[in-house]
């Protein structure tokens, strides 16, 4: 497990300064991370950056991005990234969202597609599909960490974070991310009750990728999610849990590369 370290680049959107990971050249991809900021050592970054410029900010409260006291909702995040999108020099970018960041990307695309060329959602959260006593998304704050670990990864022994091996700085970063995720996503848990209705507004080519072994949120949910976005393509990646970009980096990068052309 590589140690996540602070990113050196910064970008400013209005009064917010975000740490940002930038990699590669070519068409722009704005990547919104999920449960934790994207690891600088992630192999999929190297693969995708051969043909694209990846811009991956850490959400306020995650990593080394400060969070103002009154910035504490998904509403804030969506508006921040709509603003960021409009501030980029690129006319249009591909929006790529993972997990929690997939929820943000779906919200943004449902609100306004002008600057979005294509949309890629990877095991996204964001909507409620099951009945009132069915939980679509595993409560990562309320079940045993071993259960979360086994649900999150296809091959946890190889890929799950090992707290005993992580540096102090990496653990502080990790804990910061958990706090921020809980702040933003606690209630309702990881979804917006209104979003399902508005997914039909998404008017750009969309690819929904899903790890076949995802136990945080199942591929059945993913298929239904994709079905609510006009003409979205849904693809399952075998041998991967909630993070196909990490567990199957090559297959993941191939799917994204061929989709964005």
């Amino acid at each position: 497990m590589p140690n996540r370290t602070a990113l050196t680049d910064r970008m400013t959107v209005r009064d917010l300064t975000l740490e940002v990971l930038r990699r590669g050249t070519g068409q722009a991809i704005l990547a919104l991370h999920g449960l934790q900021p994207i690891d600088t050592d992630a192999r999929f970054l190297d693969l995708l950056s051969r043909q694209a410029e990846i811009i991956a900010p850490s959400h306020p409260g995650f990593g080394d991005s400060p969070r103002p006291a009154d910035f504490d909702t998904v509403y804030d995040l969506v508006h921040l990234y709509l603003d960021l999108l409009h501030s980029l020099p690129h006319e249009r970018v591909t929006l790529l969202g993972f997990s929690f960041g997939g929820w943000l990307a779906a919200e943004m695309a449902a609100a306004c597609c002008h600057r979005i060329d294509k949309l890629v959602l990877v095991d996204p959260f964001g909507i409620k599909l099951g009945g009132r006593e069915a939980r679509d998304i595993l409560d990562v704050f309320n079940v045993h960490p071993d259960t979360v670990r086994d649900s999150e990864w296809h091959n946890p022994d190889r890929f799950a974070p090992d707290f005993n091996a992580m540096s102090d700085a990496a653990l502080v970063r990790y804990a910061r991310g958990r706090d921020a995720l809980c702040l933003y996503g606690f209630q309702p848990y990881m979804y917006n009750p209104q979003l399902k209705r508005w997914l039909a507004r998404i008017a750009v080519p969309t690819l929904v990728l899903w790890g076949a072994s995802d136990g945080i949120v199942s591929s059945k949910y993913g298929r239904a999610y994709a079905g609510l976005i006009p003409n979205a393509r849904f693809t399952v990646i075998d041998g991967a849990g909630h993070h196909p970009e990490i567990e199957q980096a090559d297959a993941f990068a191939d799917h994204v590369a061929s989709f964005i052309g």
Binding site: H144, N164, M166, D168, C182, L183
Partner: protein, 406 residues
């Protein structure tokens, strides 16, 4: 010094193999293990003990914990209501309904005002920060808990003290556009307010607000540090010095006729630590918002990092995370618990000496919140302990008048 008797009404009658197999005896243990007939007996026994305290002139204290074997007092205001009517003389401290877990503080103010009037002004109102298992039981975001706690207290205080018709509240966590509770409290503007906390930051805020500051099972060092943070914050804010009446300490206390009987009672009380603190990691050390992220290296690792032992106190912050405090407490025996100042037991003379020794170590306090019954202690043992303490120890403690330390 005033004495306040309490029993958290634990439910210890779950088979040991069930307790051993579960990862948490709070929040997640199915309630099929709680027999309501047994629970009813416990409620009646302990309410009788509270009434005995009233007869003996010892104040009473009702806590609140949720959904576990450690306590059947999930609905504090209901107990306070019973005590308000059935006791006649003593003061009643609610410590307290868990305000940051409840969506409407105005309703809490209404409950407290009702109890204060019903008791003809014998209520004291305490506030307690919630623990991790209770965040789960009450479906509350653990991140932002402290901010929500203070806003709830602000709103309750205003609702209790406001006299001139409806006011509006549009805060960060609570909105209530029409606040005008009936009845108004008996005590004017409202009952005295207490707050339980061990961390120096909250202690400072408790000090600035002039609330009675309760330390629970923190031992002499942590208690002294918190009291000092309270006093220092007042001095820095230019507020007048407070007396020892502003400070309280909660510990296990049992007085017996002999040293052996007292120790045997004390040992039974430790069930609370040894058995009822067991809490799953996701509801304690991994729960977001419960520790500053800077402490994650100490808390997240299952073993020490190479070349270092985990610190029980963070030198820079002066904070022992509650989860670490709990782990430390779970393994204590009688002698250790006595040495750490969280258990006072023995003969009445010996108990008095232990309390005063602790008093001297922390710079004095005006209220002893005594956990007098826990675990498998019987009603008869509890009654005996209450009588001995209230007749042999409490009068001597009452002679310890509030002072303002130099």
């Amino acid at each position: 010094m005033e004495s306040w008797w309490q029993c958290e009404i634990p439910y210890p009658f779950v088979p040991k193999d069930v307790l051993d197999a579960t990862d948490s005896v709070r929040a997640t243990l199915p309630n099929k293990w709680c027999d309501p007939k047994v629970a009813a007996d416990l409620y009646h026994e302990v309410l009788d003990e509270f009434l005995l305290c009233d007869d003996e002139g010892m104040n009473v204290l009702a806590i609140e914990h949720h959904a576990g074997i450690n306590s059947l007092m999930g609905a504090n205001p209901m107990f306070v209501g019973v005590l308000a009517r059935q006791t006649r003389k003593v003061r009643i401290l609610s410590l307290g309904t868990l305000v940051s877990l409840r969506p409407d503080p105005v309703r809490i103010a209404e409950e407290y005002a009702t109890a204060d009037v019903m008791s003809r002004g014998r209520l004291e109102i305490g506030f307690v920060k919630s623990g991790g298992t209770e965040m789960a039981s009450n479906h509350t975001n653990p991140v932002g808990n402290l901010e929500r706690y203070w806003e709830a207290i602000d709103l309750i205080r205003k609702a209790l003290g406001h006299r001139e018709g409806a006011f509006s509240w549009e805060g960060k966590y609570f909105t209530h556009r029409h606040v005008n509770i009936w009845p108004r409290p008996w005590q004017d503007p409202h009952p005295r307010l207490w707050s339980a906390t061990g961390d120096p930051y909250t202690a400072a805020e408790v000090g600035r607000r002039g609330m009675v500051h309760v330390l629970v099972l923190r031992g002499p060092d942590g208690t002294k540090r918190a009291y000092e943070a309270h006093r220092r914050a007042r001095a820095e804010a230019g507020l007048p010095k407070v007396s020892t009446d502003n400070f309280a300490y909660a510990a296990f206390v049992y007085a017996g006729e002999t040293e052996e009987e007292g120790r045997a009672g004390g040992e039974k009380l430790l069930w609370f630590l040894n058995t009822s603190l067991k809490s799953a990691p996701q509801l304690s050390k991994f729960l977001p918002g419960t520790i500053p992220p800077e402490l994650a290296p100490q808390v997240y690792r299952s073993g020490p990092p190479p070349g270092a032992a985990p610190d029980m106190t963070n030198a820079e912050k002066g904070v022992v995370p509650a989860s670490q405090n709990a782990r430390r407490l779970m393994s204590l025996g009688v002698d250790e618990a006595m040495a750490q100042g969280i258990l006072f037991c023995g003969t009445p003379d010996s108990v008095y000496r232990q309390i005063m020794d602790f008093y001297d170590k922390v710079g004095g306090f005006g209220h002893l919140a005594m956990i007098g019954r826990s675990g498998f202690m019987t009603h008869e043992e509890s009654v005996k302990g209450i009588k001995l303490f209230s007749r042999e120890v409490a009068p001597r403690l009452r002679e310890v008048r509030p002072i303002i330390p130099a």
